[in-house]
């Protein structure tokens, strides 16, 4: 089944995290751009809950998303990913995702979370050596692509949520 033929999720993550209620001003505004809604949610689904996760587990993916939401100081998005991390059995990754890896953190998840932090806070500082570090802990090229898409997607999500928050606070007079 192709990704764009999947059943839409029951809950739109942006609406849920932003507190956009059915029938509200923002729901009506977003509904004017259905492709933006559909493919934003679709991106979330294929990156956080893919049919075939390859070599990057659901728990690792969700821990990355939580790490970025924490770094970007988005409490509601962090709560969303924290809940998902517990739901996919990722409790062991919770502390590293919340606080960042420390010397006791297993090397693989530490490398993944370090990469997430670099791309979130200083994307211009990435070099081929950073991709080699991911491959050294077992990520295949496809997994590196999936990880990069996921990190970049959460950066998108944080900014979309910020814009929607402003529009909710002060809708067009």
């Amino acid at each position: 089944m192709r990704a764009d033929e999947m059943e839409p999720s029951m809950t739109d993550v942006i609406d849920a995290v932003a507190g956009i209620a059915e029938g509200s001003y923002l729901a009506a505004l977003r509904a004017q751009k259905p492709d933006l809604v559909r493919y934003s949610q679709g991106s979330h689904d294929v990156l956080l809950a893919p049919d075939d996760p390859g070599g990057l587990s659901l728990a690792e993916r969700t821990a990355v998303a939580l790490r970025i939401a924490v770094l970007d100081e988005h409490a509601a998005l962090a709560a969303h990913y924290r809940e998902r991390l517990r739901a996919v059995g990722g409790d062991a990754l919770l502390e590293a995702a919340e606080r960042g890896p420390d010397p006791a953190t297993p090397a693989r998840i530490a490398a993944i979370l370090d990469h997430a932090q670099r791309l979130t806070t200083a994307p211009g500082s990435a070099t081929p050596a950073h991709l080699a570090a991911l491959q050294a802990v077992g990520l295949a090229p496809r997994d590196v692509v999936s990880l990069s898409q996921l990190i970049a997607f959460v950066s998108y999500q944080v900014r979309l949520l910020a814009g929607l928050r402003l529009l909710a606070e002060a809708p067009q007079p």
Partner: protein
Amino acid sequence: MTARKFTMEALDWDSWLQTIDVAQATPEQIAVLEKSLPTAKTSPYYLLLVHDVAALGQRSPLFNAVMYGPRGLPRAERELATVAVSHINGCAYCASVHARRFAELTKQPDIMQRLFDEGLDTELEPRRRAIVDYAAKLTRAPQRMTAADLAPLRAVGMTDLEILDLTHAAAMFAWANRLMQTLGEPVAPAKM
């Protein structure tokens, strides 16, 4: 980061990881490449991203809807926002592509050249100033924005649908820049 790294000249992009050989691609990968961009099957960037075909299969239609979808913010203004974001993040490849798109749409290449030469504070007409300032703040400090950040956009007549589009364009380049800058690098095109 210096202003000098930014150019309106066309750049190529080299992948740091092995890309998919299009002759070995699955039918699903070919289908997603074909709906991504007319030239995707010869683009190292797309041939890299198609490693995760499901992700690209959602991202490409999102990107195309954000940049080219009907109604809402004029296309040139979406391009302007993406150039501002790419400038801040330091993505010379993205800035080059979208500065040229802006120039094609507006016939005003001088504005982009000045933006690269002088930076984002260069003098702009009020509507463009408001767009660049909003995109810049959304890039640098999204959580520190307040409703007051909408006032300059509303003062130049922007509707909420246009602000929604502007938000998506700026956010999309938080995404695009991070891929382009961390999976490969811009290179000067091979001389003919």
